[in-house]
Point group: D2
Chain length 135, copies 4
Amino acid sequence: MRNQINYRVIYGDTDCGQVMYYANYFRLFEIGRTELIRSAGITYKDIEEKYNIILPVVEAFAKYKASAKYDDLLTIETFIKELKTHKITFEYQILKEGRLLVEGYTVHVPINREGKIVKFPEEIYKILKTLEKKG
Amino acid sequence: MRNQINYRVIYGDTDCGQVMYYANYFRLFEIGRTELIRSAGITYKDIEEKYNIILPVVEAFAKYKASAKYDDLLTIETFIKELKTHKITFEYQILKEGRLLVEGYTVHVPINREGKIVKFPEEIYKILKTLEKKG
Amino acid sequence: MRNQINYRVIYGDTDCGQVMYYANYFRLFEIGRTELIRSAGITYKDIEEKYNIILPVVEAFAKYKASAKYDDLLTIETFIKELKTHKITFEYQILKEGRLLVEGYTVHVPINREGKIVKFPEEIYKILKTLEKKG
Amino acid sequence: MRNQINYRVIYGDTDCGQVMYYANYFRLFEIGRTELIRSAGITYKDIEEKYNIILPVVEAFAKYKASAKYDDLLTIETFIKELKTHKITFEYQILKEGRLLVEGYTVHVPINREGKIVKFPEEIYKILKTLEKKG
């Protein structure tokens, strides 16, 4: 499944090059994956609080093709690129009026409270699998 | 005592108005008060970890007179404006080559782990009092 | 007129104190005033581009009563506190489920391309006056 | 040449996961490349203002091995991985007391005022080449 959510660029997102600061697209990526998970009926907060695992980012990548500017209304598109028992990869596209500006991915691993990499809890894995499949 | 610390403005601090984004001066204020406390031989981290209190901001104010720009080397000057048993006020000046750009203050109260306002632990109070006095 | 817009707190807004970082509420204030102006049929971007004036912040203040946390759905309420020919004051309230967390204000002055304080262009002043009146 | 510069983690850099927010390492990368260039006797600001080119990021990547925490004193190490006539790749390592926490790279291309990719001005290219060679 592909989740879409809009985001309006504020002054605070931009830099003196008159475009969105390159690091801030990773904030948009966070919004994207959070809302993708929410669309499956759970929240990232639930995953943390009910299942006692966190999903830290182990890799992050962005490719910048064109610039988002102040007051642009962007669309963040997010989908699950790959789900394994110990790893998940989200892919992102940032678009403006249908035109691709930035794309990227983040890789996350499930970690328990002791900081050890663990398998996704079965219930979480099933839900994420559904998101992956819906295409 | 007045603490001085330098800060170099990066692209990520600025906005499309070509100046430092107004909210980011509060990051500089944080640097200022952290280094002022460190100059007295304790750290804000110690206060949290050894004395089990935190010092959340209850008020924050900034007055903007002139703009910091990309790559400017700023000086953050911080001092304690007022110290009471249940409250501390830090005052800040952001300067560029001796010229005042922004000034402001933050008010903090000591809170224990249960979220209740408490007196400063005596040892902390004494140290902060020293900072206040030195002028 | 009072503008209301929702904002979902992300990881990137919070700090290791487990709450929204104090400086980031000023990002919410920016969202608030931008959307208040948009609700009157103009945009802040228009003011800059068509009227060649900018509205830099000259004062900013926030009073923190309670903390916004990760994944909270906040409401940003914004209204014009005072409009004069050379100055405008916006007031903000950040609420969670009707409960006031943070309130504050920002003061702005119209500046022309040469950096001089000017009167609001008449057309802009009229529109802002409408916002002020509607209560 | 490898440039080293220290960075103290502030509250504003961290998130509610108690570690530095993943996007903020890209701010450290910016500090790293800016100071590497400055160490060669020019500034990024000079490149923009005197040579009328900018160096936008076209790719950014980070690999997170361990977490930076509040008040950590980090070292940002930066060097030029590859310099071509139309492209430059910076590589970064973020360390804490000699231990590698995060590494990554950014790719930049020289763009002129019309937004066209151009060759590096010869003088700039020579200076960057010196940085690359010194190992």
